[in-house]
């Protein structure tokens, strides 16, 4: 067999929107924004830290010289690993072009799979969601898929975390109202991990925080960045910007200002403690100028997400992306279209930690059916990204010769060996013949998804946490309840 030389292979499809020079141009522009325009920081400790790091602080306005940004870019780790809380297995490696998918957290509403009604999310709905996520093979991490609202709202973040960690072992990206909530959640995680150091070495949780666009770091956000750095725990910092509203209407302007917001968060984080794990985010989209919504389904949203992934790869910072979501008010054809476009683009671009799978209604409502459907779409996208292997075994010229014109390959060992790995078999996507489909009840994809969701809720049991640990977590939740009661 001949040996090939100088043979370049696309082991997976190569997909880029921005060239490296375009990435550099946007980075430089973002640095110019930080040095010239600056950001407002509403947390005093953060301002002090920034001042010490060499930033120009004038009341709450902080301007960041480029050298300070450069230093933060050098010190931030280019990889973060998240593990399973039950097994400790390091499943989610946020590095390079690895793309993992999970849900989002901040939907006030959810669709009840039993009644079909849109209702406020509850602790039970979040528990159900986490079970479903735990059961789906293409979902890699968890966000609550709803804001728990049937508990005292000021400490709902503790309840929300409890509901999540009891019902899934997958890594959790958690929200917290403020650093006090965050501290309680960290305490819960340390109990589960078996100590502060154990959690730091093998984190199964990362905190989610976001600046307020344009160019503002609220007290909650900045203080979370600092606490995460002090604790040595990873933090996701993700500007949510809308072109024409909180950022310029041009895509390059969106990327520039959004990146400036991320980088200023990075500087707060790295100035507190160099080398602390940081995951750069961004939900970058347009404001729909007819309805004023923050669009979760527009083509610009997909385009910007892929561009941001190019930037994150250029900067070598792990990236928090967005996919599998829709502006549609129900799970219909539009939801299918928008979910598929965003998942395909995301899988091709390779941002690392991709959230909001299962969002409908421009992020106001969650749907477990949509989540379950997107589990299949992620499977399709992953098949696409595995690409085409070209070698003697896969070219199969001898087999083609053996079968010759007019034959078929169904009965060949080669087929038997490869058909399952070369082809992705979805769970819910229907490929029956028409007659069989009619025979099995002429069900739409949504109906099949609804059945599967109910089946998981009723019959699937995630790995439980040990009883004593469950009790300790309960204790922390109750403690916070007592605090606000006073």
């Amino acid at each position: 067999m001949p040996v090939k030389s100088n043979y370049a292979e696309n082991a997976s499809p190569m997909f880029r929107i921005l060239s490296p020079r375009q990435c550099e141009e946007i980075l430089l522009a973002a640095q110019e924004v930080l040095e010239r325009t600056g950001v407002t920081v509403y947390d005093e400790e953060a301002r002090d830290t920034l001042k010490k790091a060499g930033c120009w602080v004038d009341d709450i306005l902080v301007r960041i010289p480029s050298a300070v940004v450069d230093r933060a870019l050098r010190s931030v780790p280019k990889r973060v690993t998240l593990c399973n809380s039950r097994t400790g297995s390091r499943d989610v490696r946020l590095e390079g072009y690895n793309a993992y998918f999970g849900t989002g957290s901040d939907t006030p509403f959810t669709i009840d799979p039993y009644t079909g009604k849109r209702q406020r999310s509850t602790k039970q709905s979040v528990s159900n969601a986490c079970k479903v996520i735990d059961a789906l093979e293409n979902l890699d991490f968890v966000m609550s898929l709803g804001i728990v609202q049937d508990v005292p709202l000021l400490i709902s973040d503790r309840h929300q975390f409890e509901a999540q960690v009891l019902n899934t072992g997958k890594p959790i990206v958690t929200t917290a109202h403020d650093i006090y909530g965050f501290a309680d959640i960290i305490e819960m995680c340390e109990i589960i991990a078996g100590g502060e150091e154990e959690l730091r070495r093998n984190p199964f949780m990362t905190l989610y925080a976001e600046p307020i666009s344009p160019l503002q770091h609220a007290w909650e956000a900045a203080s979370k960045l600092i606490l995460a750095a002090k604790k040595g725990l990873p933090v996701v910092y993700t500007p949510c910007v809308m072109a024409g509203g909180t950022v310029p209407a041009t895509m390059a302007g969106v990327l520039t200002q959004g990146l400036a917001e991320s980088l200023s968060g990075l500087v707060i984080n790295q100035s507190t403690r160099e080398g602390s794990p940081f995951i750069m985010g961004g939900v970058f989209t347009i404001m729909d100028m007819a309805t004023t919504i923050f669009s979760y389904g527009s083509p610009e949203f997909n385009l910007l997400m892929s561009c941001l992934a190019d930037l994150a790869h250029y900067l070598k910072i792990p990236m928090f992306g967005t996919a599998g979501c829709s502006d549609s008010n129900l799970v219909d054809e539009q939801a299918g279209i928008e979910g598929a476009l965003s998942i395909a683009m995301t899988a091709l671009s390779g941002p690392n930690l991709n959230h909001d799978v299962g969002y409908i209604e421009y992020g106001s409502t969650s749907s477990l059916e949509f989540l379950t459907i997107n589990n299949d779409v992620i499977g399709m996208a992953r098949r696409l990204v595995r690409g085409i292997q070209v070698n003697d075994e896969t070219l199969a010229l001898d087999l083609i010769h053996k079968i010759g014109p007019g034959g078929h390959f169904l009965c060949e060992d080669h087929t038997m060996k490869h058909f399952k790995t070369e082809t992705y078999y979805p769970n819910l996507i229907d490929r029956q013949r028409y007659e069989s489909w009619v025979e099995t009840g002429s069900k739409t994809l949504f109906e099949r998804a609804n059945e599967k969701v109910k089946d998981i809720i009723e019959n699937y049991e995630p790995d439980p946490l040990p009883k004593d640990i469950q009790q300790k977590i309960r204790g922390i939740v109750e403690r916070s309840e007592q605090k606000i009661a006073k």
């Binding site: 924004v33 909180t246 385009l303 598929a340 476009l341 085409i388 083609i400 169904l410 013949r433």
Partner: protein, 490 residues
């Protein structure tokens, strides 16, 4: 000095997104694989005329088995034009099949169609192709016509001729059309020549592409290969498209499936080039996987997109225009599956840079056509075209001065810069972004309902630019001539 007054040196930009499924080396490997198969294994050819052409051209003919020396195939690849320009029916040059220009359109020959008014799944009639042509004519992102179903309420062997007449009468967009055999192809060319103002005008400025389909693996029926020869003789470009599915008529590995598809396409190419050097040839492509549970040829699988993008890469490597597939689904109803499968394949086919992407009307793994799906696809194509435009990075678009003016905590809604540029946001027509309460107030319509209403509205109200009475009469005369001929045959 304002930054915009200097030029950037060494500034390389991606003017559009860049998707490369296969490296050039991989493309060459697949092409070499196909050349080896053609030289070693060969193809079974069921037409005497084609066998003669191949023999005369230097191929090795043994009975109906033909083996193709690689140099002849490579000669054919070199001689095939790298660009073909297709006009609309008014003679305006419309489809530039070259480079990575992308055009979308519907598909042919479904055996059922969904009536957009009654929802009934039934056999297609001539009136359905009339409706299809109107919808095609009205939709801005559908760039050419195909028949959207085999018309079954006419003389069976003239369903192609009748469908062509229905399309000529109801749209002025370019047409890609099939035919049962050479007689029908002649009818079609004659009708097209009437519209174009003569055969020569049609040849110089074709608005039709003929369509032929072989039976993989490596088998070419009389109809398939004779059509390739007929097209070359008449100097009308042809789409030659084997329908190759992994695990069934090709090995289960993607690379081998590409090898068979390329080899089968090249058989058609060699036939055409031997008849007339430089005759227009578009390489096909329906390429997917056989679902091993239901045995269907999947129109929604990830592998359809994967293989189509792979085949497009090889076509591009050979500099031959490419006919690919997208906008189709295995779903039997208008549902979420239809939306997601159509979107997935439209996106990947677009990113792959295939010139003609067909089947934006195929549901139920191709058995049934749906005008509603075509209408929905038109919207998806709009979204994907926005993605294909990519991102501009320059001072105007970086907008640093605007960012500085607005500063922390402000907003951009009332800026001139926003007013100037927000028009670049893609504007949805069927995609709905109303807030929940507004959507409810408008009747809580799912997209399927909005699609149905738009499709019905087009059929009821769209008036395609009519052709002259004399042209229509001449076309009718050709249809009558064909009817007489077929009656004689029986």
């Amino acid at each position: 000095m304002s930054k915009s007054q200097y030029v950037r040196a060494n500034y390389q930009v991606n003017a559009t997104p860049q998707l490369k499924m296969l490296s050039d080396d991989q493309c060459e490997s697949i092409l070499n694989g196909a050349l080896e198969v053609l030289e070693r294994t060969g193809a079974e050819i069921h037409s005497q005329e084609a066998l003669d052409v191949f023999k005369k051209g230097g191929c090795w003919v043994d009975g109906n088995m033909v083996r193709f020396p690689s140099h002849i195939v490579e000669w054919a690849i070199r001689n095939a034009p790298s660009r073909i320009v297709i006009s609309n029916q008014k003679g305006e040059r419309t489809l530039f099949l070259e480079g990575q220009n992308v055009y979308y359109g519907p598909g042919p020959t479904n055996t059922y169609t969904i009536d957009p008014f009654t929802g009934e799944r039934r056999r297609p009639r001539k009136a359905d192709t009339v409706r299809a042509a109107k919808v095609i004519d009205a939709l801005p992102n559908i760039s050419y016509a195909m028949d959207c179903g085999t018309v079954m309420d006419v003389t069976p062997t003239l369903s192609d001729v009748h469908a062509f007449q229905a399309m000529l009468e109801n749209t002025n967009k370019p047409i890609i059309h099939w035919g049962f055999g050479i007689d029908q192809y002649q009818d079609i060319i004659d009708m097209a020549a009437v519209v174009a103002g003569g055969l020569e005008a049609l040849q110089q400025n074709p608005f039709i592409l003929l369509y032929s389909e072989s039976s993989p693996p490596l088998r070419h029926s009389v109809e398939a290969i004779d059509k390739a020869i007929f097209a070359a003789k008449n100097n009308i470009p042809i789409v030659y498209t084997p329908c190759t599915f992994a695990g069934g008529v090709a090995p289960a590995t993607m690379a081998a499936t590409l090898v068979i598809a390329v080899a089968d396409s090249l058989v058609g190419l060699v036939a055409g080039q031997l008849v007339r050097k430089g005759s227009g040839f578009v390489m096909g492509g329906l390429i997917s996987t056989m679902d091993m549970a239901s045995t269907i040829l999947s129109y929604g699988a990830a592998e359809l997109s994967l293989l189509s993008a792979g085949l497009t890469a090889v076509a591009r490597y050979m500099k031959i225009p490419m006919f690919s597939t997208g906008g189709c689904t295995d779903s039997k109803v208008i549902d979420t599956q239809m939306g997601l499968e159509a979107a997935f394949s439209i996106l990947i086919a677009g990113l792959s840079g295939a010139n003609l992407i067909h089947d934006c009307s195929y549901m139920e793994y191709g058995a049934t056509s749906s005008l509603e799906l075509m209408t929905m696809d038109d919207e998806i194509i709009g979204m994907v075209k926005r993605i294909l435009q990519g991102v501009e990075v320059d001072d105007e678009h970086l907008a640093l001065d605007v960012i500085n003016k607005v500063g922390p905590g402000g907003h951009y809604l009332a800026e001139d810069h926003t007013m100037k540029h927000f028009w670049g946001f893609w504007a949805p027509t069927l995609i709905n972004r109303l807030r929940y309460d507004g959507w409810k107030a408008e009747g809580s319509k799912p997209m399927a309902q909005r699609v149905k209403e738009k499709t019905q509205d087009i059929i009821n109200n769209h008036k395609p630019e009519p052709k002259s009475e004399s042209v229509l009469a001449e076309i009718q005369a050709i249809v009558d001539r064909a009817e007489a001929r077929e009656a004689n045959k029986r």
